[in-house]
Symmetry: C2
Subunit: 213 residues, 2 copies
Amino acid sequence: MSVIRLLVLGAVRQHGRAHGYQVRNDLEYWGAHEWSNAKPGSIYHALKQMAKQGLLHAHEVAPSTAGGPPRTEYEITGRGTEEFFRLLREALTSYDQKPDVLSAGLGFIVDLEREEALALLERRMRAIGEWRRAVTEYYTPEEGPGQPGHIGEIMDLWVHSADTGADWTRGLIERIRGGAYTFAGEGEPFVAVLAEGEENPYATGERHPGDAR
Amino acid sequence: MSVIRLLVLGAVRQHGRAHGYQVRNDLEYWGAHEWSNAKPGSIYHALKQMAKQGLLHAHEVAPSTAGGPPRTEYEITGRGTEEFFRLLREALTSYDQKPDVLSAGLGFIVDLEREEALALLERRMRAIGEWRRAVTEYYTPEEGPGQPGHIGEIMDLWVHSADTGADWTRGLIERIRGGAYTFAGEGEPFVAVLAEGEENPYATGERHPGDAR
DNA sequence: GGGCTGGTAGTCAACTTTGACTAGCGAGGG
DNA sequence: CCCTCGCTAGTCAAAGTTGACTACCAGCCC
């Protein structure tokens, strides 16, 4: 489960055709640089790898009007679209305690149909439940508490995270079931990408790592 | 903030002197292979890197009686101990939403004195509060909600995680303030390592990746 | 007494991530 | 008219991660 691949595939898909810097900007617009490892190096690397693997198609393009080096534009392929939905479904259903996975999944949840999104979130609820049971059984065998002392706090933290994660998921399911948001096939989608040249109202004001001083 | 370094330094430190396989077993005993990237490759890599950087001291040792290749034993150095405490304090105070960092910090929290542990957790509470404020201000500027649509769910998830994380931390602070666990300087410490040859009662029964079929 | 299993201890290549670095162009100041 | 700043767009080496693979020995079974 690669979060960066899901993010990059999703960004390229929403644009139709995008170059690296556009993807990078979209991810910043979504705040992804804050909750995932979406740094320039990772983004460009993911683009190249996925192009090599046939998930994206690369077009060499003349240097942009705004200066800078020649760019490469990417388009998602059929296999890339498949992979995108595979990753998206996995991100929404699997409970692996890494919050960036779920965040990325949420960012693209409306690319699914409402019924499927609900089904996936229900599966997520079951996955959390199973995980919780496995952990508590494993660490509290019949003969009293297994992990004495402060090590037990780690397990307590996990269980607490699982429970609150389940609560939150339940809330989301209710909001979606109640008609919130616009899902695939329900008319004009909510597209959260920046058009070419549009300024990012949520720019952090932080410098990019490579920015000249 | 490298979780693997914290775990490995802590494991070596508790043993006094340990070879890679012992560290690997300790981390499995703590369940770290479940909530962190503590796989054999990472562990051995971390040991070698930290030896190269002077945080650990490596001793070549004759092959063990139980067969297998010659082993290298490691001892923590003064600089390694400093680094261990630096990482530990950071793991407990900084709120970066990565649960493995906090879990690793909890595993070693009793290596600190009770008062310092409490002070660090209080700082953690403040860090969560600041983070929460920054996020909510950033995404809900004066003129109404900034991120409309489903993207707002991502922010809601973060805020929810911050709030429940704060609740849990508060509970931990109370337990510690109430006298739970045995901290540094309070007598016989609770040492969660396996003695040489001791069997691991929490072994997963899962195979190691490299185990022969 | 030969083979199989399981535990000990670790290596390695391929891949991914990180953070620093490069380079061109336009706008604006002096 | 030159110089610096900031934006566009990306590269690269070093570090870290992953999962498969190696090699050795002991005990057991037949």
